[in-house]
Symmetry: C2
Subunit: 313 residues, 2 copies
């Protein structure tokens, strides 16, 4: 499977395609967090996107871009949760079938929401190989179109739409910071943001226990021998090939953070920003606090990527 | 002490006065909560206002309206927390002293924030009489202007500004729903909303354990023998005289809710709206779910009033 990278125009097309379905999420501020970080922070609240994560943008773009014949056969993907839920919602909106392959160990809230959206759930072992093999088998059986969670150019273009929004909502940003797992968000944001404002500095936060993006950028080739060891369930995927190429082309700097730092950041986000976000999303604040000097005195756009945590009912 | 009620023009003046300082808070949506309530809900996120509550609007309006001589002597108030914090922040912004009388039993997070804002904290017994006597004594000693938490017309006008914003942000609303304690929010919203759209229906959610507003409206005179028994710490105050008059004039209907229902609503708000709100704020969703038939199929503007809860550090 080979993928190309989308362009700024593809991102703009995606924005038009998803506009009737996706939410324009707000940008949130906190005086207390600004003081802690020593910077002006503009939090793009994608955990308030439909499905509780930015993933709806990419999934919706991919589904809406299908022609009628493709659409009728449905879509399939593998996902630890948020992309699966997003694709289930996007498929339901278009009235087509969705097959979601979910590895064991995914978050209960996400699984329930996928089923509630009307998708067919397929479980598999929690390895990249098992995920891909199961999804490929379903695609072969049903004729459904595979919508890869982060390497698909329609998905990357969709994720990039949030950068268009953020730059329109908040003027004069110096840098953007997003979490990185498979790299769909990081790649889409990099392409869109640099397309509009080439002088923006770009950063990504990555769990230290799944630091393949940081290592891949450092050694100049895609590191594949990382066995993810992090509680950030949304960031366990290895970075995709096109995603890594985009990160390199756009000079995205990766900051790795320990889960304990993300735990503390998650509590700060609840306390000061009043937001319930996933541990994966809290990595960005952990990175801001870990690399305080890098960001000091500047205006930083920060993406809160998702809010699907298991809470007591 | 006698107070008049502000007019729509007073609310508009307040909006202009606080615009450089207050945040335009977002309106949040949740498909899941819409489905539960059987209505379209538009949550005005005042827990994301400066100081973590709508109270900043009224306090800021009162402080900015002082002339230079009054301002120099500072301000004083009594408050279970959010108004005190709001007044402390508003005074700090203008560089004037603030004295905050806080009853025993107030939320720790709020006390810490008041001190951090540079105000002088005065503790008193948790009764209305002790609060008012302590504040009056400080006003006499220092010459500070008393900014009553809910009966002051400048405060009511300030709270009303959120209704101007909400009606500009969300077209075609059928009804508004706010929590009611002392009634500053309810009165301000009623005056502003009916000033712009007389056909809007107005509702207020009140804890069953502090149902003086409901009883006062029912029996036609201000009921004063209610001893608050609710964990909604922001809604323990008796409704003010001018506030009650405004509720009556604008035919605000009060829905009472048990704390247990607000507990459940608070969890639903965390799960589906991803927001950390006070129990006092969750009363509105509890009311929506308790009086489902009243709201069914309609577009309801709902005010999330505050988010200052004690969370693990």
């Amino acid at each position: 499977m080979s993928f190309d990278l989308p362009t700024l125009d593809d991102v703009r097309d995606a924005a038009a395609r998803i506009a009737p379905h996706a939410r324009v999420t707000p940008v949130l501020r906190s005086d207390a967090l600004d003081a802690l970080a020593g910077a002006e922070l503009f939090f793009k609240a994608e955990h308030l996107q439909r499905g509780g994560a930015f993933k709806f943008r990419g999934a919706c773009n991919a589904v809406q871009a299908l022609d009628a014949q493709q659409a009728a056969r449905g879509v399939v993907t593998h996902s630890s949760g948020n992309h699966g839920l997003a694709l289930a919602l996007a498929a339901a909106l278009r009235g087509i079938p969705a097959h979601i392959v979910v590895p064991e160990g995914a978050v209960r809230t996400k699984l329930e929401a996928i089923v509630q959206a009307g998708a067919v759930l397929h479980r598999c072992a929690p390895t990249q190989a098992a995920r891909e093999a199961t999804a490929a088998a379903i695609a072969a059986q049903t004729g459904a179109t595979l919508v890869h969670p982060y390497a698909d150019p329609r998905v990357i273009a969709g994720q990039g739409t949030l950068a268009l929004e953020l730059l329109a909502q908040t003027r004069g940003l110096d840098a953007l910071l997003v979490p990185v797992g498979g790299g769909g968000l990081a790649a889409g944001v990099a392409i869109a943001a640099h397309g509009l404002e080439p002088r923006l500095e770009l950063f990504a936060a990555e769990p230290a226990g799944a630091d393949d993006a940081a290592r891949s950028l450092a050694c100049g080739r895609r590191v594949e021998d990382v066995v993810p060891d992090t509680r950030c369930d949304g960031l366990r995927a290895l970075i995709g090939r096109p995603n890594l190429a985009a990160l390199r082309a756009h000079r995205v700097r990766v900051i790795t953070v320990e889960d304990a730092a993300s735990d503390a950041a998650q509590r700060l986000i609840a306390r000061h920003l009043k937001q319930v976000v996933e541990l994966s999303s809290a990595t960005v604040l952990a990175a801001l606090l870990a690399a305080r000097d890098t960001f000091a005195g500047r205006r930083i756009g920060v993406v809160l990527s998702g809010g699907n945590v298991d809470l007591p009912a």
